[in-house]
C-alpha cells in the first residue's frame, strides 16, 4: 500500500505504470485493477474557477487515508493499493486524486476502489478554497470540480 500526498502536479498514468513496475514481484498473480482519477474541472455552478487550493493536515491526513485503505482491506480481498492526492494550488485539468486497487477478482477491485473514493470524500482531512476573479472562498460541501454523483 502506498499513500502519497503530493504538492506538484502528477500524471496518474505514469504513476500507475511506475508503481506497478516497482511492485512487480509483490503484486503476484493479480487479475484485476480498478482505478479512479478525479480531475479538476473548470466549471462550478456556472462561474469559472481559475484555481483552487487544497489544504491538508500533515500527519493526520496520511494516517486517515491509510486507515481508509486498511478498512477496505478487511472487507475486500485486495493485493495492493495506491492512493495519490494533490494538495496546494491546483488548476483546471490537473489531476486531484488517484485511487487504484489491484486484486485477484474484478468485483473486489471495483467495489473497494469505489468505497475508497467515497471514504476519501467524507473522511479524509482536505479542504478546498476556490479562487475566481481574484477572490477566494472555502468550500464546505462537495459541490464542484467533478460532481460527486
Amino acid at each position: 500500500m502506498r499513500v502519497q500526498i503530493c504538492e506538484a502536479p502528477f500524471d496518474p498514468w505514469a504513476a500507475l505504470q511506475a508503481y506497478q513496475e516497482e511492485r512487480r514481484d509483490d503484486l503476484g498473480s493479480f487479475g484485476a485493477t480498478a482505478v479512479f482519477v478525479g480531475t479538476m474541472r473548470d466549471f462550478n455552478e456556472g462561474a469559472e474557477v481559475e484555481c483552487m487550493t487544497l489544504e491538508h493536515y500533515p500527519g493526520m491526513t496520511e494516517k486517515e487515508v491509510a486507515r481508509i485503505v486498511e478498512q477496505a482491506n478487511l472487507r475486500w480481498q485486495i493485493i495492493d493499493t495506491l492512493v495519490v492526492h494533490r494538495i496546494g494550488d491546483i488548476y483546471p485539468t490537473d489531476p486531484i486524486v488517484l485511487a487504484a486497487v489491484w486484486s485477484t477478482h474484478r468485483g473486489d477491485a471495483l467495489d473497494s476502489c469505489r468505497h475508497i473514493m467515497e471514504a476519501l470524500k467524507s473522511r479524509a482531512p482536505f479542504w478546498k478554497k476556490e479562487s475566481r476573479a481574484g477572490s477566494g472562498r472555502w468550500v464546505e460541501r462537495n459541490t464542484s470540480g467533478y460532481k460527486a454523483s
Partner: protein, 79 residues
Amino acid sequence: MSIRVRFFAGLRERLGRAETEVSADEGLTVQGVWEMTAGGEPLPASVLTALNHEYVDADRSVHDGDEVAFFPPVTGGQR
C-alpha cells in the same frame, strides 16, 4: 499539562490563528480546549474534532502532550 491546538482552513482564517498551546489541569476535554482557545464562541456543530491525528467526539478527555485539532467539514477525495 500542555496541549497543542490546531485550526485548519476556513476556521483558521476566521479565528485568525493556525495553532496555539494551552496549559490546564487534567480532566480537560476537547470541548474544553475549544472554549479556552476560540474566543468565547460555542463549538459549532459542523466543526470536526481530532485528537492525536484521529477523529474523536468533543467530550473526549485530553492529556499532557496531546494534539487537538478543530476543522470544518472535509472536501477531499475529488472535485
